[in-house]
């Protein structure tokens, strides 16, 4: 198959995976077990995304770099109840500053 063929096939597969969850019938979504899991699932997904986004590197490597410092500053900001935009801006500025100074990768 051509390069275009594989590109389009991969796009189709990605879309079908996304669509799959939406095709589950309502009565299954309303099942108490599903309701209980879907209350906790967001926490698991968000926590895992934080971990992967903070220390994930190319090829599955664990990389400790300026992102960790950015996240630490974000934690302090969250404890101090800073608004969302302040929290994420402080994280970005921290990481950018450490990289600009050459103190972290």
């Amino acid at each position: 198959m051509s390069a275009w063929g594989w590109v389009l096939l991969a796009c189709a597969a990605a879309y079908l995976l996304k669509l799959l969850g939406y095709l589950v019938p309502d009565h299954l979504l309303d099942h108490p077990a599903v309701v209980r899991v879907s209350g906790l699932l967001p926490v698991a997904l968000l926590a895992a995304l934080v971990a992967v986004q903070t220390v994930g590197g190319p090829g599955g490597a664990i990389v400790v770099d300026a992102r960790v410092a950015g996240l630490a500053v974000a934690v302090v900001a969250l404890v101090l109840r800073a608004p969302f935009l302040v929290v994420i801006t402080l994280a970005a500025v921290t990481a950018a500053a450490l990289r600009a100074l050459g103190w972290a990768a």
């Binding site: 669509l19 899991v37 879907s38 599955g60 994280a91």
Partner: protein, 253 residues
């Protein structure tokens, strides 16, 4: 609630806060389209193939995986397999969003296309169905617009625009996910799930294909839900929120 004033379109401070979160996350993520566009063309894909991946595949992790395999000299099937493996978590997101948002008719196929890490994260972080819906659609649309425009910019200009991580945008994304998670960590059960998920994700990060650690973390939620199945379920969204707009919500009529 039957007051006609209430049914008029209102700009509640809470909705404004959700919209702000959505746009911030959308723009911070969308800017990474520059990296993808530049990397894709450098890996040997044409401009139009690069544009097609961002518009049609539209899930960053899978796209980076696809061009990464092609750039390393891998075959079409290998690139397909890597991208599809990474996209599997979107199926779980779709399930979660379907049960929260219940999109109907023409909205359903579009909602599916906009289903990705960021739109799911902003949506599930909200307490009320109305805000969950708003967060999903605004974030998904913002990422889609930004990501595709920046892909073209990156593909045409290459990496002359600079690596977005120089501006700390990678740390910003991590902090955004954390800030979205934070209000839910007020009780023991979600705290246990969060800690378990972080541990599972980090343990499996080096050993399983990218994208799978997040799926395995979902099993932590399943396990905790199974262990606590005899206790009464809690409403989605947790107890006392500490997110920026929460204090504003009490002022609502």
């Amino acid at each position: 609630m039957s007051n006609p004033v209430d049914s008029a379109p209102r700009v509640s401070p809470m909705r404004a806060a959700v919209r702000k979160q959505s746009l911030a996350v959308g723009v911070a993520t969308g800017l990474y389209g520059i990296s993808f566009g530049a990397l894709s063309v450098a890996a040997g894909l044409s401009l139009w193939q690069t544009v097609a991946l961002s518009a049609l595949m539209f899930t960053g992790g899978s796209q980076f995986a696809y061009v990464g395999v092609v750039g390393a000299g891998g075959s079409g099937p290998a690139a397909f397999a890597a991208a599809t493996m990474l996209g599997a978590r979107n199926g779980v997101y779709g399930l979660q969003l379907a049960s929260m948002l219940r999109p109907r008719g023409w909205r359903r196929p579009i909602a599916a296309h906009l289903t990705l890490d960021e739109s799911t994260a902003v949506s599930v972080a909200q307490q009320e169905p109305d805000h969950q819906r708003l967060g999903f659609w605004v974030t998904g649309t913002a990422v889609f617009c930004c990501w595709n425009l920046m892909t073209i910019a990156g593909a045409v200009l290459g990496d002359r625009l600079g690596d977005p991580s120089r501006y700390g945008l990678d740390a910003m994304a991590a902090a955004a996910f954390l800030a979205l998670l934070w209000p839910r960590l007020t009780r023991r059960e979600p705290q246990a799930v969060a800690v378990g998920s972080v541990v599972v994700a980090i343990i499996f990060l080096p050993t399983v294909p990218a994208g799978v650690p997040v799926l395995l973390a979902a099993l932590v939620a399943l396990a905790v839900a199974a262990l606590n199945r005899h206790r009464p379920a809690e409403p989605i969204g947790g107890a006392t929120p500490v997110d920026p707009g929460a204090d504003l919500e009490e002022q609502r009529p």
